[in-house]
Amino acid sequence: MRIYETDIATPLLLGTAQYPSPKVLQNAIKAAGCEIVTVSLRRETAQGTGAGFWDVIRQTGAKILPNTAGCHTAREAITTAQMARDIFETDWIKLEVIGHADNLQPDVFELVHAARVLSADGFKVFPYMTDDLVVGEKLIEAGCKVLMPWGAPIGSGQGLRNPDALRAMRAHFPDIPLIVDAGIGRPSDAAAAMEIGMDAVLLNTAVAKAGDPVQMARAMAMAVRAGRTGYQAGPMERRDVAVPSTPVLGLAELV
């Protein structure tokens, strides 16, 4: 996968919150072979240095994708993105503008506005969005070169609630990298996303809150690879009737 002129071998992006310890987080990133991690600027590093935690992440060698988690308006998100650019020395930004307190779904109107302002300012924007085609078009028109539709609400672990919408996005945006962001609960969810042609999966809680986060990170990495390879291999179509695997023609005559 190629995103904003960067080649990514492992199509798994990890969030860095909620792990039992930074050590476990480091080991999970390593076990997954994860190349991109997202870091919340507001929570982890704004005000005060937060340097210790940030060092832990830097030691993994993974590329940092700062996010604007916790922002509720375009204005807040834009300011947060600008601070992130200074602190993390990157023009990548995962743009999150939360619109609803209960299901944390993105406010797509504020999102498109913030994406336009940030793209014009030279940012490479990764927008966290619903699985809406029109919103996708507006984001691309605003300058985004990657889209990150949700699989289910953040932290819910429900898996892909609307795979048909994701398939429609795949068909509608054949050349835009699509990353399923949020909602993945199990490795099979991650594999399912890749199998329908998504380019990568971004997840956090499913690994951080697993009984053994390091093992789960490894499982997720295997799942995305399996799903991706399966997609490239061209899965068979479903049928309503059984078809014997062994050919029925040319059977030996037993009489």
Binding site: P22, G48, G50
Partner: protein
């Protein structure tokens, strides 16, 4: 003589154990009063290894062994257990929590009402950790200083430590590599209408909360875990979240008085476990994270072990060099 910098939890418990082992000990404390600068004044004071096990390493459970008994010799310890509950729509959080630890029993409405009558009918299911305990951090730190003094420790308050000490217990003020700060925020409420007798943990996917009764209708609630070294006072978002979680435990908190809010920085190493380490020829005890009262007794024992071995070049398993 063994000199120690810092009369916080780590310094005082080490001093006490060293004095008990026959050493002559002097502790330097930069602030004028015991505990006034210590992060432990904002602690919950929970001695709850099995609840911690949900997110902490097994090592925490092992090191916590005997902590409540140790403290009981020094300060009042409330051994009433911990009750873990969740709102109706977050029952899956209880299941998740229960799978990550042990030494609890499932309790249901009737048993919850028997344990805490004020919570009768409010929660259908919960987990009861009978063996857990709590103490009052400020009283405990003061009592610990008294006990250390009785054992012969010389505590010099308002006296910055000299450049060279034998044991550095300065917590966040230390410049050990790999040590980071984890911000915690808490509030103390006065709610005389409500009588809760034991530590209550409310599981919530976004705002997990604990509530520790301090007696006379006073409750400590906390605490956030933020990877951030800002020492500013509690934020509006954190305060509104912990207060609304308290309200979810019992509506009586609506009429409670907020008598104090606080924020502190917990020093932690990358594995969130405390360490006794050697740096530039000085022993350091640091990185208690959120387990100060729980793990101080075991770490103080390691300090004694270290100083009794010093000079013999024997390497202690737990002793690491930075």
């Amino acid at each position: 003589m063994i000199t120690i910098a810092g009369a916080g939890l780590a310094g005082l418990s080490s001093a006490l154990e060293l004095a008990r082992a026959g050493h002559i000990v002097r502790v330097y404390e930069a602030s004028e009063n015991i505990g006034s600068d210590s992060v432990s004044r904002y602690a919950g004071g929970m001695l709850a290894p099995w609840c911690e096990r949900e997110s902490a390493d097994q090592t925490v459970v092992e090191l916590a062994n005997g902590a409540a008994d140790w403290w009981e010799q020094i300060t009042p310890v409330t051994r009433m257990g911990t009750l873990v509950v969740a709102p109706p729509r977050d029952q899956s959080e209880l299941v998740r929590f229960s799978k990550r630890t042990r030494n609890y029993e499932w309790v249901h409405a009737d048993e919850i009402a028997a344990l805490e009558p004020a919570l009768g009918n409010r929660f259908a299911n919960g987990l009861f950790f009978e063996t857990e305990a709590h103490l009052n951090p400020r009283t405990a730190l003061r009592d610990l200083a008294t006990e250390a003094t009785k054992a012969g420790v010389e505590i010099l308050c308002g006296t910055p430590a000299p450049k060279r000490v034998d044991l550095d217990c300065t917590g966040p003020a230390s410049d050990l590599p790999d040590l980071r700060m984890v911000r915690g925020e808490m509030a103390i409420l006065h709610c005389p209408d409500l009588n809760l007798t034991r530590t209550i943990r409310l599981l919530h996917p976004r705002i997990p909360l604990y509530l520790v009764p301090r007696g006379d209708g006073v409750y400590m609630i906390g605490a956030t875990m933020i990877e951030n070294s800002s020492a500013r006072p509690i934020s509006v978002r954190s305060l509104s979240e912990v207060l609304s979680a308290a309200f979810a435990i019992h509506p009586s908190f609506a009429e409670a008085t907020v008598i104090e809010t606080g924020s502190g920085l917990r020093p932690a190493f990358p594995d969130n476990l405390p360490r006794l380490v050697q740096s530039n020829g000085v022993a350091h005890l640091n990185g208690f994270y959120r387990h100060g009262f729980l793990l101080a007794p075991a770490m103080a024992a390691q300090v004694v072990h270290h100083f009794s071995k010093q000079g013999s070049h024997e390497n202690h398993r737990q002793f690491q060099t930075v």
